[in-house]
Symmetry: C2
């Protein structure tokens, strides 16, 4: 079944993606508000800066994938929530640091001035550090199982965010600027910069539900492919959308002479690759036999999104 024809079944009576995403976002926002120190807690500057970026209107796609994966494995939202929030803290920290003048030097993110434009570079570095640290604190508050102890959960997050994955992707991205990059090298960057944490979000959802090893394998395949598709679409949107539509600086990849799928294989083939990756993600969900509607819906949504 193609990704497109599946969409029909997803938007049918039994599952409403828009309300699912809306409900997820509300629940995640409430949980993040509970987990993060209030703005008034000393020193207020750091907590204002952390909350500024956490509540800047992110799409909460990683938490939604985490919660949906838990659901697919018969788990409860409440058990997956700390892990969903931990991943969102990691994602937000990486954006704050990525936007710094020493990195991508971006002034806007999600339609708002970036963290360092509001709080200064020193506080922006510290706000990123604090969110990264907070992620582990929140993860430690999650439910655990004999198979998925806090040791396993912390290792999962640390590995996906560390110098062999998320940070490796950032480094390769920085070092690739202005250089000729092959399609294989670009895939290497995307796997690390985007797919690793997305895949980790999905796996953590499964772990929170005490999933079986075959379920974890299926979720890993799904997360890996959705993660790659997500970044290909990001590359496409960077050249096809305006800054206003994206809420962040458009055309910045081209300006920074960054290799992207459109720049290497063209727009049409990039779209075909994103479709194919999404198809593979759908295929990975077969073992769930229809119980992974939310994951399917999110994969479809990520493929079709316009920002």
């Amino acid at each position: 079944m193609s990704a497109v024809s599946r969409k029909k079944s997803i938007s049918s009576a039994s599952f409403n993606l828009q309300s699912y995403v809306g409900d997820c976002t509300d629940a995640v926002n409430r949980a993040l508000d509970k987990f993060l120190p209030k703005e008034t807690v000393a020193p207020p500057t750091i907590h204002k800066a952390m909350r500024y970026s956490i509540f800047a209107g992110g799409k909460r796609m990683r938490p939604a994938l985490c919660l949906a994966a838990a659901e697919a494995c018969g788990g409860k939202q409440v058990d997956a929530m700390p892990l969903a929030c931990a991943v969102e803290c990691i994602h937000t920290y990486s954006l704050i640091h990525d936007d710094l003048p020493a990195m991508d030097n971006d002034d806007f993110r999600r339609g708002k001035p970036t963290n360092h434009k509001v709080f200064g570079e020193g506080i922006a570095v510290l706000a990123g550090d604090a969110l990264l640290t907070q992620a582990f604190e929140i993860a430690a508050l999650s439910k655990s199982w004999p198979r998925y102890s806090h040791r396993e959960l912390v290792l999962e997050i640390a590995k996906a965010s560390g110098s062999l994955q998320l940070i490796a992707g950032q480094v390769a991205d920085l070092e690739g600027e202005g250089k000729k990059v092959s399609e294989a090298q670009l895939k290497y960057i995307h796997e690390r910069k985007t797919s690793a944490l997305l895949c980790c979000s999905v796996r953590l959802g499964g772990m929170s539900a005490n999933c079986t090893p075959p379920q974890l394998k299926a979720l890993t395949d799904f997360g890996y492919n959705v993660g790659l598709a997500f970044q290909v679409i990001d590359d496409i949107l960077d050249v096809t959308q305006t800054t206003e539509q994206l809420g962040k600086t458009a055309g910045k990849d081209t300006k920074a002479q960054k290799a992207t799928y459109p720049s290497i294989v063209g727009l049409e083939k990039s779209r075909a690759i994103a479709e194919q990756l999404t198809k593979r993600a759908f295929d990975a969900l077969k073992p769930f036999k229809g119980k992974a509607q939310a994951l399917e819906g999110l994969a479809e949504y990520l493929l079709k999104r316009d920002k």
Copy 2:
């Protein structure tokens, strides 16, 4: 018994501080070399940058305190080592970020150019991020006990390093520059900027040895006081030593108009405060009835150090 008279017993036949510190440093360096990805692992830049700062000749005081606390509680060095290394990764990350132009803007650390002077600001930010992340990965590899599960260990590290402790101290330090700061406010900064992680190192050592709650309480009192004394001495050395003696820029507190103990209460009273704090640290060790020689030796060493 005064701190000074105790020194005699420490340097007596039964305990040789210098060889203890030397052995600790060697063992910690070997363990860090094992825990951190090799320089050749892709992307090499980030692993070179992480190792550059980790192996820049740090005194390994936090790991030594961690190992000594484990010993005082009858534990094994091998069980405390991952936690000792995790704390050193946190300490090193905080120095890399603290030295950035947006923060203290320091060119030298431990007699060598700072991380961003060698690798550039972007990589320095990422190397700090990677070491912070690695700390949790290493901590997750440690031994755990029913009383001190990985959940407890991760929470201990995350809280001591987070926005209410270590990062709060950095923020208060940044915000205090050029302002009139009271002795109470300065103590608030020192408790967070230095004492929190030092105390955490000592506590983690005890936890690795499955210490009793009263032992943990004693270690906490010890760590808190040693941590404060450490920072008072740091303040003193900043005004009394040269850049060459310190291996980092001397006089920088005065230049940055930072409040320090010497600037608020004068050099003589600062020395008396450091002595008194060390005395309190010694007193806290009474429950160990002579089994905490290494901790006593380290506290004395930290008081008497000249760099």
